[in-house]
């Protein structure tokens, strides 16, 4: 028989039957059910196992506080471990399975741990597993790890997509129960822009779970009408299935909207959206969570929070048991009894810990005051409870109420520290709550419906008028003013057996006593030592109980004890949603060079350089190994001419009357003497005297310069230049604008580069050595009129130019360069060949500029002008940076020329022990030089400039290499620079 625990009423749509599976068994539920309500409707009580003792556990609550009913939802790569059945919306075809057991849910082999529980008291693992020492790694830890966690990841990529978004509003209302709806209505009517977010799929909060009336309407009907009214307002946005999970500085909230979790498939739509909500004001109407009472055997399936029991009855039309008993210390617990009796459910007894209660009529139920539950029975489901007076009551559902804890979380995410209120025996928001936030309804400790509505309205009205909106007096609300009496009661003492505080992590009252006895006397220490409140439910039902018990142990009041700190997120949220779209190839944007498509058509191999993709080499038919391609590209360039896309270099256009002076201050060397039409190499230091970046700056006009930076540092150099111009020398006439992306820039290098370019630039432009020498620049045109910039600079050591055209012409330019270059057998070359040629030439690059290198280390000490005040020159003079034994950039050749060098090797003298004390430096870059026919390297070695010709060892322990190398000049190729000046 299906759904034998289903009764009438509620908000489920009985006309729509949904089929679902739990542990492979087919079951039915209805639209409007959660997985938990549907399981209960089918009489499923045992749904999971606890973390430590593998105790049988059932559904405990009807909301996000659920500690027990955690399942793995869906399967395969879509599997979602540790999902609370109490918030998972039922859909047709849902499949869920229980977690944390061997063999089966009913018969769990790991439950043997339960019998060992006397030896597994709080912190037991800190006190053992230490002998013998080697056993920890091999035996103990693997065993502990094997029992870690509840659910498992699939191990496969998350198949869903996620999105993010940004919402701006005047007033954010968190929670759409009575207080939230009232607040949204008031704020909405004022004209303020309002966002109303609620984690539930059904707007209304506890209005849907109770039998209250407002102005004569049922709470559910009132909520439905309120939603209708709000939906008609253009300035109000209602967001169901949206959890506001965190409150951050300056009115920023994080929220997560579940878009497709209630559907069989996402169908290519984002599964969830992470919203960043920017609010001017916020009203927190997050309600309250009921807390349990600790008593021996209080963890059996069938023992539930009292208000949750009536939620199932009122909202879902489901009864969690057929003989329900209520155990309470507050008036609210009685409401469960009344509601159930009204629905015709048999309530066997109501037990109240208080001795003097003015209780309502509960026909048919035995009433016991000043009574406690001291034991329970039933292996996989509750069968009976024992009273303190000694008799047993047969019952299959025990509804427990220990009172209500306001959901203060979001009020605490900044600096708020909740404050204890004796009258309601609960913590309410306190300390410094977030700027611009008010708390209304149960979240503030206002536990009656009329108070909730009143507070919601007044908070919204005050905020609306703060923001300049007009609110009108609202009609009086006639709502229930229910009884909220309570006498705090935490645990049943003096009875044998374990009483659970944190159900999921299996923390008992005794564990708390042990911890306190051992000195863990602050609530935070207790949490860490016992793990109370550290499970997936974040202690929503356990925390306050645990610290109240600690207070009892330490002889303090709960108020003195104080709570642990509440941290975001309010409920756990998928990491995928926090990442949004940024995964796989979309992790970061891709920057393409202007010749990219051309290079693709040539079969180039690409490499990531920061966000750029650059051609690394261009394989030709018959080349089996990358080295063959690179060697050819180098040789052909040096023999005739090669072309390389160097557009990725940072380009900053600098305008103004004072640019020369400005450059003098940001570069270590002199610039104000640079003539129009000339280029100069510039070395840039950080203020601490370390080399930061280098590049060339060309003077295109009297008041117009173009600076190039390294690819990696383009954005940083720009930022630093802006700092210099705005903060250090604000009255210099200097303007900056980045032009990196605007130009396709190609290096044309090799002995035939001039001849090639003669066919490219406008015929009237004189490329001769005399007219356009090394380090000259000019604006000209190419190919009959396209504007162009021409720079005579060389990174390869050859006669070379860099020629730039607007980026849109980039591909066409590359094609043309190659076609006019055919007669010279021009070869395109990639970043590898570029690197080989720069090592041959002895140019340092990123590998050498590791942020610790001084100009002195590079052999450029004299470039740092002492005649002017520039960034970095003062601190570059500190003594340790000028030691006589400083490392110097040097070249290295293998003594045995067939030896291959490796970057990252350290230099030691022959015969020395391999110790750090003998370390003399390191190899920073290596290349196979096809020009020289052997491997070469650049590196830094102590006093390298004085040790040319000496042999040392390049020791690369992590690659198992030890190569004798000769220290040489870093300039392997054309050291006099004849070729580049040619």
């Amino acid at each position: 028989m299906t759904q034998r625990f289903r009764i009438g009423g509620g908000l489920v749509d009985r006309s729509k039957t949904l089929r679902f599976k739990f542990n492979g068994m087919s079951l039915e539920g209805h639209t409007g059910d959660t997985l938990a309500s549907a399981l209960l409707a089918n009489g499923r009580r045992l749904v999971g196992r606890s973390f430590k003792y593998h105790r049988p556990r059932g559904i405990f609550s009807a909301g996000p506080e659920e500690p027990n009913a955690l399942v793995t939802l869906r399967s395969g790569s879509s599997a979602e471990p540790n999902t609370r059945a109490t918030t998972a919306e039922l859909f047709d075809g849902l499949a869920a399975s229980s977690q944390n057991h061997r063999l089966s849910l009913n018969f769990d082999l790991m439950a043997v741990g339960d019998f060992l529980s006397p030896f597994l008291s709080a912190g037991f693992y800190y006190k053992t597993f230490m002998w013998p020492k080697s056993f920890w790694e091999k035996v103990y830890e693997p065993a502990i790890r094997a029992s870690a966690g509840l659910g498992a990841l699939s191990g496969e990529p998350d198949p869903d997509i996620y999105d993010k978004g940004f919402i701006h509003c005047d007033i954010l209302v968190v929670g759409a129960g009575a207080a939230g709806l009232a607040a949204a209505l008031t704020a909405g009517k004022s004209g303020a822009s309002v966002v109303l977010a609620d984690e539930d799929f059904q707007i209304g909060g506890r209005l849907n779970a109770e039998t209250h009336t407002i102005n004569g309407k049922s709470g559910t009907a009132w909520a439905r009408d309120a939603v209708g009214e709000l939906e008609a307002m253009e300035n109000v946005r209602i967001m169901p299935r949206t959890t506001v999970y965190g409150s951050f500085d300056h009115g920023v909230f994080g929220a997560i909207e579940r878009c497709t979790d209630h559907l069989p498939s996402s169908n290519g739509r984002p599964r969830q959206i992470l919203w960043r909500i920017y609010s001017k004001r916020s009203v927190l109407c997050s309600g309250a969570t009921e807390r349990p009472i600790a008593f021996p055997g209080n963890d059996r399936p069938g023992i539930m929070l009292a208000a949750s029991v009536r939620t199932y009855a009122n909202r879902y039309g489901v009864i969690p048991g057929k003989r329900v008993t209520v155990f309470t210390c507050c008036d609210d617990g009685w409401r469960t009894a009344s509601d159930l009796i009204d629905k015709g459910v048999r309530v066997t007894a109501v037990l109240d810990t208080r001795d003097n209660v003015n209780f309502p009529q509960v026909p048919g139920a035995r009433v016991e005051l000043a009574e406690r539950v001291v034991a329970t029975r039933g292996r996989t489901g509750l069968a009976g409870i024992k009273l303190q007076r000694g008799d047993w009551i047969e019952t299959d559902c025990l509804a427990v109420s220990g009172g209500w804890n306001p959901n203060v979380h979001l009020s605490c995410h900044q600096r708020g520290r909740p404050r204890w209120r004796d009258d309601i025996a609960a913590f309410v928001p306190g300390g410094s709550i977030p700027e611009g936030m008010k708390i209304a309804g149960a979240a503030s400790g206002a536990l009656t419906l009329s108070d909730a509505i009143g507070q919601g309205r007044s908070a919204a009205a005050e905020f609306a008028s703060d923001l300049g909106y007009r609110t009108e007096a609202e009609s009086k609300i006639n709502a229930s003013d229910e009884k909220t009496g309570i006498s705090a009661f935490w645990s049943v003492s003096g009875a044998p057996g374990r009483a659970w505080v944190d159900f999921q992590n299996d923390v008992t009252v005794k564990d708390i006593a042990v911890a306190a006895r051992e000195g863990y006397r602050s609530s935070e220490m207790l949490k860490r030592y016992t793990t109370a409140g550290m499970a997936t439910d974040q202690g929503k039902t356990a925390n306050v109980l645990a610290l109240a018990l600690l207070a009892e142990q330490t002889g303090k009041s709960v108020a003195e004890e104080g709570t642990t700190i509440y941290r975001p997120p309010y409920t756990a949220i998928p990491i995928g949603a926090l990442a949004g779209r940024s995964r796989d190839k979309d992790f970061r944007p891709i920057r393409y060079t202007p010749s990219h498509r051309w290079a693709e058509s040539q079969g180039a191999v690409f490499v990531e350089t920061g966000n750029w993709l650059r051609a690394q080499w261009y394989p030709r038919r018959g080349e089996a190994h990358w080295r063959q391609s690179v060697d050819r590209e180098v040789s052909e360039t040096r023999r005739s001419v090669g072309i390389c896309d160097v557009s990725t270099l940072g380009k900053i256009e600098i305008f103004g009357r004072d640019v020369g002076e400005f450059l003098d201050r940001v570069y270590a060397n002199t610039f104000n003497t640079l003539a129009v039409g000339k280029i100069r190499y510039g070395l840039m230091l950080r203020e601490d005297g370390i080399v930061y970046d280098d590049g060339t700056t060309a003077r295109l006009g009297k008041r117009h310069f173009v600076m190039t930076t390294t690819t990696a540092n383009a954005a940083l150099v720009y930022r630093n230049l802006e700092f210099a111009r705005q903060c250090l020398w604000p009255d210099l006439d200097v303007h900056l604008i980045s032009a990196t992306d605007g130009w396709a820039q190609y290096s044309v290098a090799g002995p035939n580069s001039r001849d090639l370019l003669r066919k490219v630039v406008e015929p009237s432009f004189d490329l001769s050595k005399e007219n356009f020498p090394f380090m000259a620049c000019a604006e000209t045109t190419v190919f009959g009129g396209v504007p162009s910039r021409l720079f005579r600079i060389s990174f390869s050591g050859e006669l070379a130019y860099e020629i730039a055209v607007p980026a849109k012409y980039g591909r066409s330019m590359m094609e043309r360069l190659m076609s006019v270059g055919e007669e010279f057998e021009a070869t395109p070359y990639g970043t590898e060949a570029l690197g080989v040629m720069r090592v041959e030439k002895g140019h340092f690059a990123g590998n050498e500029l590791d942020g610790r290198t001084t100009a002195l280390n590079l052999g450029l000490g004299r470039m740092v002008s002492k005649k002017k005040d520039c960034i970095g020159n003062v601190l570059s003079e500190r003594p340790e940076l000028n030691r006589s034994d400083a490392v110097k950039l040097s070249g290295f050749k293998p003594v045995n020329r067939s030896g291959m060098l490796t970057a990252g090797a350290h230099f030691l003298s022959p015969g020395q022990d391999e110790t750090m004390g003998n370390d003399q430096g390191w190899m920073s870059s290596v290349a196979y030089s096809p020009t020289l026919g052997h491997s070469i390297g650049l590196g830094f070695i102590a006093r390298g400039d004085e040790r040319r010709g000496e042999t040392v060892r390049a020791v690369d322990l992590v690659r198992g290499k030890d190569v004798d190398v000769e220290i040489v000049s870093p300039h392997f190729y054309d050291p006099e620079g004849v070729r580049q000046r040619g």
Binding site: D586, I590, H704, D741, G742, P787, P806, K808
Partner: protein, 189 residues
């Protein structure tokens, strides 16, 4: 002398696509000119811009259209502006430079940017997924300019009409930017 003139190629190949409730296309005919004020030169520049191009200097966070609607001047930073010309014949920067003479520093920025036009009822909702700045009509009227980060990319959003935006971002990452906007449009309907 080589073969004829080089062929320019739009960064997104002249992309244009209709989405449900929105149209997204690459604005290929745009010339973009950087204009900066010399010290104490605001008044002269203001005068020159008005005389030569019919443009008024915009306030921070906004832009102005010229009387003949062919040029839009966008506030970029203190003393710095971008002028956007539709379907300009010849290099716009040269023309601006020639017209403004010494009243401004002028640089060509046309190829630094990819431009997308996004219009339609879904445009705002799509931008809401990537743009942290409030682009709702009430907060961001026609002519409004917001330079911000979208999906890790720097971008400038300009509201050209009630339901139309011009979006600029770096040209090297044009494809990633297009992908970001396309994804938004796909995700909102």
């Amino acid at each position: 002398m080589a073969d004829p003139v080089l062929t320019p190629e739009p960064f997104l190949g002249g992309y244009a696509k209709k989405f449900k409730n929105a149209v997204l296309s690459e604005a290929t005919g745009l010339s973009i000119v950087f204009v900066a004020e010399p010290p104490d030169g605001r008044e002269e520049l203001e005068l020159a811009l008005f005389e030569k191009f019919g443009l008024n200097l915009p306030r921070p966070g906004s832009s102005n259209l010229s009387a003949n609607r062919v040029a839009r001047i966008v506030w970029l930073a203190i003393g710095q502006y971008l002028i956007l010309f539709e379907d300009c014949k010849g290099p716009a920067a040269h023309r601006v430079s020639a017209e403004l003479q010494d009243t401004a520093y002028v640089g060509d920025q046309s190829d630094n940017w990819v431009a997308l036009r996004l219009s339609g009822a879904a445009a705002e909702a799509a931008l809401e997924r990537i743009c942290p700045v409030d682009v709702a009509k009430c907060a961001f009227p026609v002519g409004g300019v917001a330079r911000t980060a979208m999906e890790h990319l720097g971008a400038i959003a300009i509201r050209e009409s009630n339901d139309g935006f011009l979006l600029l971002s770096s040209s090297s990452s044009a494809r990633s930017f297009l992908h970001a906007v396309q994804t938004s449009l796909n995700n909102v309907h």
